[in-house]
């Protein structure tokens, strides 16, 4: 959790101040300023209403993808980071959110605004079902139980529910509308995804300040002790699974309405593993962990690795002539991803968010180093 450090001369005078999301006026100004800045980004691109070309248009899609995954990983953070449970079925829960919202919109004629909360609640309910084994098992065995979700859910969507989901073929999703205004144009979904992502991140952070959040943390730290203190461990574990799946459902729904097209190939086991890795790299149990993790993995897979392919392809045959460079990208991508994960587990097991906290503390107590 974030350290309770204030700049010199700043004191809390009430409990409310102590647990406030933004403890100082500067924090509040900074947070609001960043949010406004984020909302301004589309206006500064070529396809914005003013046709400005200050920022590349590519940023819009990238930021939206990051925001969607931040929501999903934030859900995983509630389950893994705060409650100490684990899930390898998170991508499957995203699929539930994506497909249920698409079906509601297509077959029941629901608007996006109704399909979003309903699909989220439905996904939460599905999460509850797969959370049931947490009553009996934990650790490695719970991983296996949640892994079942990653096999059962896609199978259900692909075969028995094929008339509704199109099976392995893509499913078209209509663009959201609001008072006759369509969100079909490029980047229009930005103004749905970004505010929702910020809101859900704040909500996830807020959970830690509530009775429920404290119960989650107590279960994570020592479930036996929590039970002895009168905490209904099973009920809270189920709540964590519900909330985690609910976040995944929202992310899946946003993904479906953003791309207007969904296929099961986007929700396979490797996505679940990637999201877990994002959380580990970003910092499990830190509100900012998902943001750091998703941004880092995106940077790694979409910028760093492709940039490395060409020099490595030129260099490798000179030192290792038996290596087949044709498959270099396919080999390099999981290799470097795995390596990054390993490095983080060894060097910074608490993730980038923890490093960020250390940096913030150092900044706040400057010029004193201790």
């Amino acid at each position: 959790m974030s350290a309770n450090i204030r700049p010199s001369g700043v004191f809390d005078t009430s409990y409310a101040q102590d647990i406030a999301l933004n403890r100082t006026r500067f924090d509040r100004l900074l947070a609001n300023g960043l949010f406004v800045l984020l909302l301004l980004i589309p206006l500064l691109t070529l396809e914005g209403p003013f046709g400005l070309n200050i920022l590349p248009q590519l940023w819009i899609g990238t930021i939206m993808r990051i925001a969607i995954f931040v929501i999903a990983v934030q859900g995983l953070n509630i389950l893994v980071g705060y409650t100490g449970q684990i899930s390898l079925g998170h991508a499957a829960f995203m699929a539930v959110g994506a497909y249920s919202s698409a079906i509601m919109a297509r077959h029941l004629g629901m608007s996006f605004w109704l399909a979003l909360p309903l699909s989220a609640l439905f996904t939460g309910a599905v999460g509850l079902i797969f959370g049931l084994p947490s009553l009996r098992v934990k650790g490695f065995y719970l991983v296996m139980a949640t892994l079942a979700a990653q096999f059962i859910i896609p199978w259900l969507l692909r075969y028995p529910l094929e008339p509704l989901t199109n099976g392995s073929r893509p499913l078209d999703v209509p663009a959201p509308t609001l008072f006759g205004l369509s969100f079909a144009s490029t980047g229009a979904m930005y103004y749905i995804i970004i505010p929702l992502s910020v809101f859900l991140c704040l909500a996830a952070r807020n959970i830690t300040r509530t009775r429920v959040g404290r119960a989650f943390v107590s279960i994570r730290d020592n479930d036996l002790a929590a039970e002895l203190l009168g905490i209904n461990v099973f009920a809270y574990k189920l709540q964590a699974f519900f909330l985690s799946a609910l976040y995944a459902g929202i992310a899946g729904c946003l993904m479906a309405f953003d791309t207007n097209n969904i296929t099961l190939d986007s929700f396979l086991l490797d996505s679940s593993i990637t999201m877990l890795a994002m959380l580990v790299i970003g910092g499990a149990g830190y509100p900012l962990g998902p943001l750091f993790g998703v941004a880092f993995v995106n940077l790694l897979t979409q910028n760093i690795i492709p940039a490395l392919v060409v020099p490595v392809r030129d260099f490798v045959p000179r030192v290792l002539p038996f290596i087949n460079t044709v498959n270099l990208y396919a080999a390099l991508s999981p290799l470097l991803f795995g390596l990054a994960l390993m490095v983080f587990l060894i060097v910074a097991p608490r993730g980038l968010a923890h490093r960020w906290e250390i940096f913030k503390i150092a900044w706040k107590i400057r010029p004193f180093s201790h």
Binding site: Q57, G61, S168, P170, S185, T186, D265, Y329, S333
Partner: protein, 464 residues
């Protein structure tokens, strides 16, 4: 003396490109005459696909084909004087990467007029986005959903040079139905990779069309991942259900594994292996070299499938002759001499023609955009290097229908025809110590339109 030598050298250096520019295309390539000089400009072939994943056996030769063809055409004036270039991006088979690369291209300040795709899954993912962004795409072959939308009735902005996968299995059923003496009581078991590509040919329409041709398609398709090494159970399930033909919509290792498993089970005399156009490829012949059938030839010997363009062995076609000559000049290995290398050449030749027509129409390269290019694609009637016929019927179709059925065999030791046994076959030692047999494709039919098996298509039996 030294100065004279240097001056001569300089002169030669200047003269070589000038002479190279003077090289002309052979007469059989009849591009539209350029009315606008584009010298100094660049036409880029924007391409992204799975270059390093399970499609690499196909996409690496495609890159080789693109590179050789671009060099060849640039040496002969490029596109009305403009230089051809290529920008290839690797998705590794990951849809997230596909989206990222597409976002990159579609947000370029100078938005591409045309994009080249490779995978059906990519086409399905991007179909609506490309229509929205008004960027046309060229793809080799595709699924109904990728080219005609989810309902199969909404033509998109992606155009395939091969028939739809569903139409290809239709062609195969038509052939089987018409050759009952070779295929008595045909029962097809569908065995493929899971996903957009692998499952694209198994539809209600194809099942009912095949039934109308007297070919039963089992209602229990089997799917195996591209990484699978043992599919005995899948094959056995289909054979137990009555299949005497196994049809696969996979490529490279997929058809090779199906044929190897059939041979392993001792069923090669009872079960015919068949597949999509990618199954009839050099890669399948080479990958299948270690699994031999009862005749001592690779188990893929005799594989039947679609061949919607001319093949390497059809040297009476001048386009094939040119490509063979260039592959030899560029020292392309046997593994590169496959479908995708041919299609790479066909693609570059198509680009030259498309841009020549488009620029003539709008007056400059800058004025060419996606909408202009879409119009040109839909109204062009052209045969890229004579490999296939590029004609989308004024925009009515999104996949070229011309198709024929062919059989994969292996060259005999004399190089005069197909081998009848392992002892009779021509073999080539490979660098890894193994021996390769030389695959050849023998057409069994003439070119004819594949049946239209889109939902509501002209050849879909009534009531299905």
């Amino acid at each position: 003396m030294r100065k004279v030598f240097l001056a001569l050298l300089l002169l030669a250096a200047l003269a070589v490109p000038a002479f190279a520019q003077d090289e002309t295309l052979p007469d059989f390539i009849e591009h539209t005459a350029c009315e606008v000089d584009l010298t100094g400009e660049t036409v880029t072939v924007y391409h992204f696909g799975d270059i390093s994943g399970s499609y690499a056996f196909i996409t690496q030769p495609l890159l080789a084909g693109l590179s050789d063809a671009i060099a060849y055409y640039n040496a002969r004036g490029g596109v009305c004087g403009a230089t051809l270039a290529s920008d290839n991006r690797d998705t590794g088979g990951d849809l997230a990467q596909t989206q990222a690369h597409y976002d990159y291209y579609s947000t370029l300040e100078d938005e591409p007029d045309l994009i080249v795709l490779y995978a059906s899954g990519d086409a399905e993912l991007l179909s609506s986005q490309m229509a929205e962004d008004e960027i046309p795409g060229l793809i080799s072959a595709g699924s109904v959903a990728g080219l005609y939308g989810e309902d199969g009735a909404t033509p998109g902005w992606i155009y395939a040079s091969n028939p739809l996968y569903s139409d290809q299995i239709g062609s195969f059923c038509r052939y089987v139905g018409a050759n009952a003496d070779q295929f008595p009581d045909p029962v097809v078991g569908y065995i493929s990779w899971p996903g957009a590509f692998g499952e694209a040919a198994y539809t209600d329409e194809t099942v009912s069309y095949c039934a109308a041709q007297g070919v039963t398609v089992l209602e229990t398709p089997e799917y195996f991942p591209p990484t699978a090494t043992d599919i005995t159970t899948n094959v056995q399930n289909l054979v137990d259900a009555g299949a005497n033909i196994l049809y696969t919509n996979s490529l490279a290792s997929g058809p090779a594994l199906v044929a190897a498993t059939v041979a392993l089970l001792g069923l090669d005399d009872d079960v015919q292996v068949a597949g999509v156009n990618w199954a009839l490829d050099t890669s399948v012949g080479l990958l299948g070299r270690s699994s031999l059938g009862s005749d001592g030839l690779p188990a893929v010997n005799g594989l039947v499938g679609s061949l919607p363009f001319y093949w390497w062995t059809e040297t009476d076609q001048p386009g094939i002759g040119l490509i063979r000559e260039q592959a030899a000049a560029n020292e392309r290995a046997l593994s590169m001499q496959n479908i995708a290398y041919l299609l790479g050449w066909g693609l570059v030749d198509t680009y030259v023609e498309l841009y020549a027509v488009a620029v003539n129409e709008v007056g400059s390269l800058d004025a060419v955009d996606g909408a202009v290019m879409k119009g040109v694609i839909e109204n062009l009637s052209y045969s890229p290097l004579g490999l296939y016929s590029f004609d989308y019927n004024g925009g009515e179709t999104r996949a070229l229908p011309g198709n024929r059925i062919a059989r994969m065999l292996f060259l005999n030791a004399d190089g005069t025809g197909p081998a009848t046994s392992g002892e009779d076959a021509m073999t080539v030692p490979l660098a890894d110590g193994t021996t390769a047999y030389i695959p050849i494709l023998v057409p069994l039919t003439e070119f004819e339109p594949a049946p239209d098996l889109r939902p509501g298509g002209a050849d879909v039996p009534a009531g299905s």
